[in-house]
Symmetry: C2
Subunit: 194 residues, 2 copies
């Protein structure tokens, strides 16, 4: 038995969103069938609108509806926090601990996947360092994130800019018993005085 063609097509579109398997995509498509005409057109319009309205901020590379995003337009530009993806900006903003501006690399250096420094926004970072006192490299603490951070530090330090990285250690609410060895050894090495 064949499903209606338009359902099959929509299922394929949902599967392109990444991490969506056949069953999930099917569930989403069936949900669309059950929407009212109005709900469905609002959904389709929302997709068009995102493509029409959202661009990348010409300074930091984060998503924005204006040429320069709200954060770049208003905040302290002496401290720049470098992140791999726009979603990392959101996470740091939620913490409320950072009041400077961001720089989104849109990726990390990954020899395994063939991504070099030229494939991410490192040149753009260098071109906006005038007046910058500190660069916080908040890439993930994994192999690629660490390699990217080291690369950036080696480039920027000679320019007299302070390069830092968020502290690594034991997460709030977690158990020392279950912390992995690398995390625990770093946490002890970088212990703080009470």
């Amino acid at each position: 038995m064949k499903q209606p063609d338009s359902i099959v097509k929509l299922i394929n579109k949902f599967m392109r969103l990444g991490g969506v398997g056949l069953k999930t995509a099917q569930r989403y498509a069936y949900k669309v069938v059950e929407m009212t005409d109005e709900e469905a057109s609002e959904f389709a319009e929302a997709i068009y609108d995102v493509k029409k309205n959202v661009r990348y901020c010409s300074e930091c590379g984060n998503f924005s509806e204006t040429d320069v995003c709200e954060i770049c337009a208003r905040r302290d530009k002496t401290v720049v926090c470098v992140v791999a993806q726009p979603k990392d900006v959101l996470a740091i903003e939620k913490s409320g601990a950072f009041t400077g501006v961001y720089h989104v690399l849109h990726g990390t250096i990954s020899p395994l996947e063939g991504r070099t420094a030229d494939d991410i926004r490192i040149k753009e970072l260098l071109s906006r360092l005038g007046g910058v006192e500190e660069v916080i490299v908040a890439t993930n603490p994994d192999v690629e994130g660490e390699a990217t951070a080291m690369y950036i530090a080696r480039l920027i330090k000679p320019l007299g800019v302070r390069v830092t990285r968020p502290a690594q250690g034991i997460s709030m609410g977690s158990d020392i018993e279950y912390a992995d060895e690398v995390t625990l050894s770093r946490a002890i090495e970088t212990r703080t005085t009470l």
Copy 2:
């Protein structure tokens, strides 16, 4: 920090698909931002097309692009398999074990959620029983599914139509050791001769 309005809107639309939380919806929306214009319009078009083209088959109630679906148009109408949802039709079709037609109830009887027999397509089932020899009630073997099956059986049996239910028992490839008690006791009661 505020995300661009059009992204927030699209995130809300994705969250209406059911079972999609904020983080997942955000991931989908970001994926849309990163699509090419062409990909994004194809996605939006696919949503419009589903709403424009897909209706319910006037006989069985399954999704269809024509007034009467392919299955109802072509297959043996003496056996009707009653299911709760369109996705159940797909699952049974994949098994290849059924060659009759379907009847989609679009729900089950659920006193807890306030759904009575009038809220699902039971009247429509009764009106198409002319010439039908057997009704297989393939609702889920849970409280609501069982109640719905019992209700249908009590309505239809007096009309001289055979009412059956798929066998319950131990699943292929599973362990008797881990089968739940109800399943195991039913499997033993309805044991088959080798």
